[in-house]
Symmetry: C2
Subunit: 290 residues, 2 copies
Amino acid sequence: MSRIAYVNGRYQPIGRATVSIEDRGLQFADGVYEMIKVVDGRPRDLERHLERLARSLHELGMAMPLTPAALRLIVARVLALNGLGAAAVYIQVDRGVAPRNHAFPKGAKPSLVVTARRPTWPKPAEIEHGVPVITLPDWRWARRDIKSIALLPNVLARQKALEAGCREAWLIDAAGLVTEATSANAWIVLNDGTIVTRPKGPEILGGITRAVVLELARENGIEVVERPFSLDEARRAPEAFITGTGSLVLPVTTIDGRKVGDGRPGPTTLRLHDLYLAHCGLPHRLRATA
Amino acid sequence: MSRIAYVNGRYQPIGRATVSIEDRGLQFADGVYEMIKVVDGRPRDLERHLERLARSLHELGMAMPLTPAALRLIVARVLALNGLGAAAVYIQVDRGVAPRNHAFPKGAKPSLVVTARRPTWPKPAEIEHGVPVITLPDWRWARRDIKSIALLPNVLARQKALEAGCREAWLIDAAGLVTEATSANAWIVLNDGTIVTRPKGPEILGGITRAVVLELARENGIEVVERPFSLDEARRAPEAFITGTGSLVLPVTTIDGRKVGDGRPGPTTLRLHDLYLAHCGLPHRLRATA
C-alpha cells in the first residue's frame, strides 16, 4: 500500500505528493518541522510539539498555518489513512510558494506537509550495549533553537558519523563544550548520579524528549543540572546518553572510540530509559519489538 | 505566457513544475545552486559557475548530475522556451528523493531544476546614489564557501535589512570583521585607491563576480589586497561596494546610517562598475535600462 501524505489541503499517495519548485522550503530552507512519536494510535507529547512548532514559526516571522485542533485532526487522519498505530509523524511548514527572492513574499500561503511512517526505534541491542558516537566541530548556524529544515550541516555530520561506524556525532563548540548530537540532545551522568545536559538557548534545540526526561528525573529523585559540559568531562563521566524523538533515551558507550565508564550502559541511563518508555507507553526496553 | 522550467528531464510550465515532498532539497536543504547572468542571449561566466557548482556538489559528496555540455544545452533551451535574451538563470541540484533520513540515501538520483526569468539589475538611481546597508552578526554555518540552499540565515538577515530600508546586510563575524553580504561580497576602497575584500575561505562564498572584479582591477592597474577588514575600517574608508551576480558592482554609501566617505559613490567603485558592465556586455551604468 502506498503511503498517504497530506499536502496543502489534499491527502494523496506519497509518490504523487509534490510541492512547487518555487516553494521556499526547497529554494531557501525557509521552514520548520516537527517529528512526533505515535504509540497505540496516540501521538505522544503532541501539545509540546505543536507549541514548539508555533515558537519556531514565530522566530521566522510566521504564524501557525492552522489551529492546533485542525493540525491534530490532520495528524489523526494521516495515521488512519496509513493504518498506523505506531508511527513517526512528520509535520513541515514553510513560507510557501513565491518567485525566488530572499525577502519574505507578500501574501504567500504557507506550505504544510504531514506524513507518517512506521517508527524505527533503537534496536534492543543498541539499548543493551549502547551506541558509539564520534565528535565533530559544531558547524551549524547560531539559532539551533529554531527547528528549521536548513539541516545540511546536520546531514553532513550524521553521514560522517555513519561512515565512522557510529550512530551519531556529538557536536563540539569553539570552547570545547558539547552542544548536542545531530538530531538528539547530549547528556552525561556524574559520579554521584546527577545528570547533566546543556541548558536551553540558541546553541541547542530544546528537545521535547529532553524536557520530558528532565521532568521524569526530577519526579523520580534523580538530581539534574542544566549546564554545559566539555568533551573532556564527558570522557571522564561514568555514563553518557542521548535523547530524541527517534533515539528515545539511548546509552552512549564510546566517544571517539574510547569507552565511557566501563563501556556498558549505566544504571542511571537505563533507569531513565525505562521511565521514558513508560511515559510513552512503549514496552519495557523494547524487548517486545526485537 | 507562463514561464517554462526544466525539472528532472522535463520542460513544463512553472506553475505545474514540482518536486516530491520527499525531495532532500525540501526536507534537509541538501543541495546547492547557481544564479547566472544572461546578456544578449549569452550566459556570462557560465564556465566558472559550472565549476563552482561542481565544487559545491563535491563538498557535499555529490557528482555533477549531467556533463557541463548537457547543462549548457538545458540552459540554452530554457532561455529559448522563455524567449529571454536577458535573464537570470537558476540551477539547483540536490541529493534527490528518498524516505526521510539524515544519512545519504543509496541510489537516489539527484534532482535538477533549471529556471530563467527577467533579470532585476540594480536601478540606475541605486548606482548613482549608492545603497544603504545595515550590519548584523553573521549567524550562518561554518561552510559558506559551499553555495548551498540552506539559506534561512541569509533570508532572515536580508529581511531585517529590507525592514530597515536597506538593500543588503553586511554580516560581521565574532572578531568584528566583515564577512560578506547576504548574497554579495563586501569590499572597501582605501585612501590610496587600493581595493580590499576578504580572501576566499570557508567564511565567505567565493563569488564569481568577486573573481571577475579582482581580475578586472588587476588588468586595469587598480591595486588589490585580499584580507579581512573590520567594520571600523569600513566606516573610515572613502568608498565601499558589494559585488554579486544580481548586484553587479553596487556602491554602498551608508553603513548603519553613517555615510561612507562623502556619502556618494566614489571614483574607484564607479570605474569597477563600468569595467564590470563592459565585461558582461551590459550598457554603461545601466542608463539604457532605466
